[in-house]
Amino acid sequence: MNALYRLFKDSCLKHPIRPAVREQDGAVIRYGRLEELASSAADWLTESGVTAGQHVALFAQNGIEFIIGYWAIQKVSAVAVLVPAFSKSWDLERIQEHCDIDHWLADFSRRSVLEDTFSIQTLAPRWLSSPLCLMHGCGNPVKANPQPIAVILPTSGTTGRLKGVTLDADSLVWNAQAYANDLHLSETEKALLLLPMTGAFAHTTQMLAHLFTGGELIFGPELFMPQQFAHLVQRTQPTITGLVPSLYRKILASLPKLAQVPLQRLVLAGEPIDQALVHQGRQQFPGIEIIKAYGLSEAGPRVTQISSAKGTAFDDTLGRPLLGARIKIVNDQGRSLAPGETGEICVASPSLMKGYYKDPEHTHAIMSRGWLRTGDIGQLTKEGFLIVLGRSKNLIIKSGYNVSPEEIEAFLNTIPGVREAMVFGRQNNVYGEGIIAHIVASKKGTLGGSDILSQCRARLAPIKVPDEIHLVDALPDNFNGKLVRKEVRAHWPMPDDREITLGRRGEKEA
């Protein structure tokens, strides 16, 4: 049992009859019962051969199965590797290999994807109304964890490999509590979860933070459409929710006014935040306090946040660091800069990751002497508030998910008939940023956009599927990564700069 589970158990003992989780169909599990279910699942894991320190991939959508599986893994002191629920074979194979998975724990809907990918039968005991399935992976018995960790968040990494952000129990507890303290979360809070708990945002600042403070987690529907927001909020009566800005934009576009709802607070994070959008939101939903936040998985995730109750600093900045966190801005040589000067944002905090799993090279490239280089560009004000201006790392942020162009290129290069591929991100009004792929076929005229998309749809998580595919005769001569990619993004002629719209509903955005 680690610090994470102890805190969870304390909360269960303290609030046994309060609702802990609520499903869309209204099913509720109270704290006392949740601890019993997690314990019996932990017993089942132990009986099935799961031991402390092993890596258990949790492959489930937001729901009771996820929560029970997660706490069972923590109770046996295994490591929970959080696998995005819509992952497909390409993603799963890479997670298996790179994260040394010993066991897969999946909800029932995901069983067939697992079986198809690994050609193994899963074990499916029915200890819940809808069961969790366990499958033994071929994990490496020798783990590369220098110290005990609780969670690995696989993120899109560079060529051919992914990055596993490793977090220990203390880091996670710190970040969840620093966040909860800053917002004075209490047991009266009812949090609507619309983002996946496999991501740091919902995992740490929603799931952990609210369970530690005795609040209630309300799971949104499997398929959430922005048009449903008002109805969902009316029906489930949350007091707080969290969104990525691109989703928030679509909710505002589909909903002229939101009045008479108990929703008091809305946290925005995970993508660059456009102040005009926040302003529009405050006009449309006047009664709702907005919290703008900055963070990244590698930092635990939350670093700074600020509430709309804070006046002018709210308009211009993303707030001050949470308890225990510090920020400095450095130049190219790593020298600290003065307030108002622009440079790379570096973070020191008790909640920083322990490193990328099995990847000392990338870990050392961004972490040294307790400081994490974020790859984001920004400034500090004289009062210590953070302003984020952009990012230097090569990353596409699509609907709040980080997608590395190199990973998509590596995937595209596996498709028969593809000679080379170049991928970059471009602003788009549906996903915040869209994925654009330029592809050169081995033999001209033999490969269509739909052939490539068939492969992408079958093997890639939906979020990684390119939004535009352009078959081109050649890539720039000296194409070798970042700089060229940047140049191409700026200068490549795009026929009519095709806008992807949501039609009727999207038109309201204009």
Binding site: R110, L223, G449, S450, P462, I469
Partner: protein, 98 residues
């Protein structure tokens, strides 16, 4: 017999149109017949569409069938599978006719 035959034809053309719309979104506008769907295929898990693409499908359905769909009609259960989506459209058309 004639009547039921025409209903059958109408139904199958609704089905074809819905499949064509899904195909278009699936291939992000690239034209192709390279995939055929089963009624039991789930839109999210099997086809790998996301919620925003499903909204694109709704918009395309409105255009193709010249109907207007209220937001209240957007129930998750209707978007579970290719079959449930087709049935839902047939139901909407039936309601519109009445």
């Amino acid at each position: 017999m004639k009547v039921s035959h025409s209903i059958l034809v109408a139904r199958s053309s609704v089905r074809e149109t819905v499949h064509a719309i899904i195909r278009q979104v699936y291939f992000k506008g690239h034209s192709s017949n390279a995939i055929s769907f089963d009624d039991s295929d789930t839109l999210l898990l099997k086809l790998g569409l996301d919620s925003l693409e499903i909204i694109q499908i709704v918009v395309a359905i409105e255009k193709a069938f010249k109907i207007s769909i209220d937001d209240e009609e957007l129930q998750t259960a209707n978007f579970k599978t290719v079959g449930s989506l087709t049935q839902w459209v047939q139901m909407l058309l039936h309601k519109t006719k009445r």
